[in-house]
């Protein structure tokens, strides 16, 4: 037995060092990504400072920009909440985009009809429920294949996502098509029937739902028996089996919860912002949120921070695309760089730690 004997002071110092390294671990990749992204801009003859300044002004510092960024956070956060559930349960649900879009399309088609007959609170409630049911059922096939036959859910959920996106298009073009419009799209939900705004901002209350969902997911994972069971399934399935947990049921629950939250994101986006869905609309939020959830190390509170950062980049980047002729895809370049540098710093840090340990 190696007894680790340390006096209190050394422990304190070590704790401080750990906090510092944790902050550095997140900040360093961000700074490096911005610097290298700037170099790329320079190479294309754009002034990086102008670009970053513009993105910052339009996404964060202007009133409308900030409100747009916060509004954009709502679907992203709900997807992130779903991803946290799945990832912490060791399940790689990469099908969130299909789950999101299918739920969104059903809500978009039904909400205008329901709104003609029912009070708005009831409409929202029913829509949320429909979104959860639709997306959770879309996740059942990969979940069942994983639980029953051990088939890799990365592939199956991704394939189901492509199918889901295609099915959503079919639905918009044929049964849910609004004949009153020339382009295939669903009937538009009246602005008055959408999710209420907060005060006199343009932000709808879906953001509150989203933040609550992320925090609730974090709480469930950390502070409930269900959370611990899901974590166990994720970290060591053999141990979970040894402890008598029902692996199959837990896998299906985790998948359904994950997809359900992503679908809720779709409902919130339709009811709060879009009001209608045109054919071939696929924002592919899920694929963008995945790296953020990794960056946050599945921590709910950190996810809120990263999603905010990303929403600012998105909104600012969309404005910059129009004004500075830098395509808004450049935001994805930044996220990719962020991931890259995250991996590099992680690798270097592990190396350093190993060398220290001998």
């Amino acid at each position: 037995m190696r007894d680790v004997v340390k006096d209190g002071k050394a422990m304190e110092a070590q704790k401080a060092m750990e906090t510092l390294s944790r902050v550095l671990r997140i900040l360093l990749p961000v700074v490096l990504a911005l610097v290298v992204g700037g170099l790329i801009l320079l190479a294309f003859g754009k002034d990086p400072l102008t670009y970053y300044g513009y993105v910052l002004r339009r996404g964060l510092l202007s009133d409308t920009g900030l409100q747009a960024s916060i509004t954009r956070m709502a679907p992203l956060l709900l997807i992130a909440a779903g991803l946290i559930v799945a990832f912490r349960s060791g399940l790689w649900n990469l099908g969130v985009d299909g789950q999101f879009l299918l739920a969104a399309v059903f809500v978009a088609a039904l909400a205008p009809i329901l709104a003609r007959h029912l009070p708005s609170t009831l409409v929202f409630l029913i829509c949320f429920l429909i979104a959860i049911v639709v997306s959770a059922s879309w996740s059942f096939i990969p979940a069942y294949l994983k639980a029953r036959h051990g088939i890799n859910e990365i592939i199956s959920s991704l394939m189901m996502s492509f199918l889901g996106v295609s099915l959503a298009n079919v639905l918009i073009k044929i049964p849910f098509n609004d004949p009153a419009t020339t382009v295939p799209q669903t009937e538009t939900l009246d602005v008055a029937d959408r999710l209420a705004r907060l005060g006199d901002t343009t932000v709808h209350w879906g953001i509150i739902l989203a933040v609550v969902a992320v925090i609730a997911v974090h709480y469930v994972m950390e502070h409930t028996a269900l959370g611990l069971r899901l974590q166990l399934v994720g970290s060591n399935p053999r141990t979970a089996k040894h402890a008598g947990l029902d692996l199959r049921l837990l896998t299906i629950i985790a998948f359904a919860a994950s997809a359900g939250l992503a679908g809720l994101g779709g409902a919130v986006d339709v009811l709060g912002v879009q009001g209608t869905i045109r054919a071939d609309w696929n924002p592919a939020y899920g694929i963008m949120v995945i790296p953020l959830v990794f960056l946050a190390r599945y921590n709910g509170y950190a996810v809120i921070g990263f999603v905010f950062f990303f929403a600012v980049l998105m909104i600012g980047g969309e404005s910059a695309a129009r004004r500075l002729a830098v395509p808004h895809y450049f935001v994805l370049v930044l996220v990719a760089l962020l991931m890259l540098f995250l991996a590099v710093t992680e690798f270097l840090e592990q190396n350093l730690r190993q060398r220290k340990a001998g």
Partner: protein, 534 residues
């Protein structure tokens, strides 16, 4: 490279003043040792004495902070395992590190550079040469996964010697082997010694060291505390050697008889067991139990036996003959394909783990880290793993971390678990301490059936003794049935009332544990049938 390139005086490797520090620990403190060609050098010491660090330095896995290593008379820097292998220093670790889905030859070719074509013809001569040297007969095209553990170890030895036969390091090589396997290994090791290889042999078992070694070195807390060179060892009796080594290892020789017996591996004192009252009905009754196994697993085939309250029932047999399935069937982890399991006159055949646990079933698995615990989770969580969702640790599904950590502190104290804190991830603990956590989780006075699977596998002497004492006392429960599954006959002879022998998924027979039982068990292991005693 062979013995002809030996350094002065037949010295293969010499360490001088090797020091290695880890944060908070001095693993090796100015260790100086000499390993000679044609000598089996046993390294003895308790867990944490610094043996593992020392061999990882010789194997090139770690670099010393101070001191020098000389190989064949020249000072060298072993900065990677590859360097060590190139110098003809190979290591065989405790756990087999071969790829089961590849053939023997393919495994041996793994170390070659990536640009070279995999050409079996070019490696066959070396394979034949080593087969001859080891005097073993293996089919080079056999899949490693189909070999016995002993054969896999022979392949490991070949791989270690692939680039030269200067030195062979064996890290607790007998812990996975059957008695016959141990004999075979001893023969191989002696042959290698006679060929001029410097063999470095790490073990917990004094008797093995005495039988095999030409030179014994004892480590304690990172120091070399004593050596018995060839000249002295030759003149000493077994008793003298053991006394002397125990004095070195513990700095005293007033160890209890039990500890000494565990050290030496000769404990046969089964008189102290509480007698079993077999007048009533059995507490555990298996009737015609069969299971279905996946590829590579040995399933149960019509197993029946009865065990009475308070009885300690041993299951002997070579590893991989259905013991794992038996343990899993008893614990409720594995469904049966036929037959019944009755516990205290209640049919528990269809019950899962939680229901059986509620009926007093406890299972201490042999795979402590892969199955018994979740390595990345804290000691606290692992202590309540089988209670998730139940009061007092959870209330309405909400985790009460304060209660869980408090419970952990009490258990850590009660079971003397050495851990920095209850928040430490359990994978950071030593094997013995992980075992203590498992025991703390599983044992309780109200247990009705306790299953131990290889309870002392990989444990050091003190922990082994503690574990065996605990089993002898009925696992801390009042009149529970205790099932001990072990591949070490000594252990079963020391702890059990009756011993059953398993072979290819069948129960070959049950033997009362009395003087001379070994022969009967040995007969059963080799395939003879003896009617079961009831």
């Amino acid at each position: 490279m062979d013995a002809s390139t030996a350094g002065p005086n037949g010295i293969a490797i010499s360490l001088s003043d090797v020091t290695k520090r880890f944060p908070g620990v001095l693993a090796n403190d100015r260790v100086s040792l000499t390993f000679r060609h044609g000598e089996i050098h046993a390294l003895l010491g308790e867990n944490g004495a610094g043996k593992s660090t020392l061999i990882s330095i010789i194997a090139g896995m770690q670099q010393p902070d101070e001191g020098t290593i000389a190989v064949g008379g020249a000072t060298v820097r072993l900065s990677s395992p590859r360097d060590a292998l190139k110098l003809g220093i190979g290591t065989v670790y405790q756990h087999v590190l071969l790829i089961p889905s590849l053939t023997i030859l393919e495994n041996l070719m793994l170390g070659s550079p990536w640009w070279r074509r995999c050409d079996p013809e070019s490696v066959l001569p070396r394979f034949r040469e080593l087969s001859k040297l080891l005097s073993v007969q293996l089919d080079p095209d056999a899949l490693v996964g189909r070999l016995s553990l002993g054969e896999q170890q022979q392949v490991e030895i070949m791989r270690a010697l692939w680039h030269g036969e200067r030195a062979l390091i064996l890290d607790e090589p007998t812990s996975m082997l059957t008695p016959d396997g141990v004999k075979e290994l001893s023969a191989v090791v002696r042959r290698l010694r006679d060929h001029g290889v410097a063999v470095i042999f790490i073990t917990h078992k004094l008797r093995e060291a005495y039988e095999l070694a030409d030179h014994i070195s004892v480590l304690r807390l990172g120091h070399v505390v004593g050596e018995l060179p060839k000249e002295r060892l030759g003149k000493m009796t077994e008793k003298q050697v053991i006394d002397e080594v125990i004095t070195m290892m513990f700095g005293r020789n007033d160890l209890s008889k039990g500890a000494e017996a565990a050290l030496v591996g000769t404990a046969l004192d089964h008189d102290g067991l509480k007698p079993v009252d077999r007048s009533g009905s059995p507490a555990l009754a298996l009737h015609d139990v069969s299971t279905t196994g996946q590829f590579g697993e040995c399933a149960l085939n019509h197993v029946s036996f009865d065990v009475w309250p308070g009885e300690i029932f041993g299951v002997a047999g070579v590893d991989g003959n259905g013991q794992k399935h038996l343990a899993e069937v008893l614990s409720g982890q594995r469904p049966v394909s036929g037959g019944t399991v009755m516990l205290n006159q209640k049919d528990v055949t269809r019950m899962g783990v939680p229901a059986r646990r509620a009926h007093g079933v406890r299972y201490i698995t042999d795979e402590r880290l892969d199955e018994g615990t979740a390595g990345t989770h804290s000691v606290s969580v692992n202590l309540v793993l089988k209670e998730t969702g139940k009061p007092p640790f959870w209330r309405n599904g909400i985790t009460r971390w304060g209660v869980i950590h408090g419970h952990a502190r009490t258990q850590i104290e009660a079971y003397d678990v050495r851990t920095p804190s209850e928040h430490t991830p359990i994978a950071k603990l030593s094997g013995g301490n992980i075992q203590k956590v498992l025991l703390a989780r599983e044992l309780s006075p109200d247990a009705k059936l306790v299953i131990f699977n290889k309870p002392t596998y990989g444990l050091d002497i003190q922990s082994t003794k503690l574990a065996r004492d605990r089993i002898r006392r009925g696992a801390g429960a009042d009149n529970a049935v205790v099932i001990v599954i072990s591949t070490e006959l000594d252990e079963l002879m020391e702890t059990c009332h009756r011993i059953a022998v398993m072979d290819r998924g069948e129960l070959r027979g049950i033997v009362d544990n009395r003087k001379g039982a070994e022969t009967e068990i040995g007969l059963l292991m080799t395939g003879a049938r003896v009617p079961a005693h009831a």
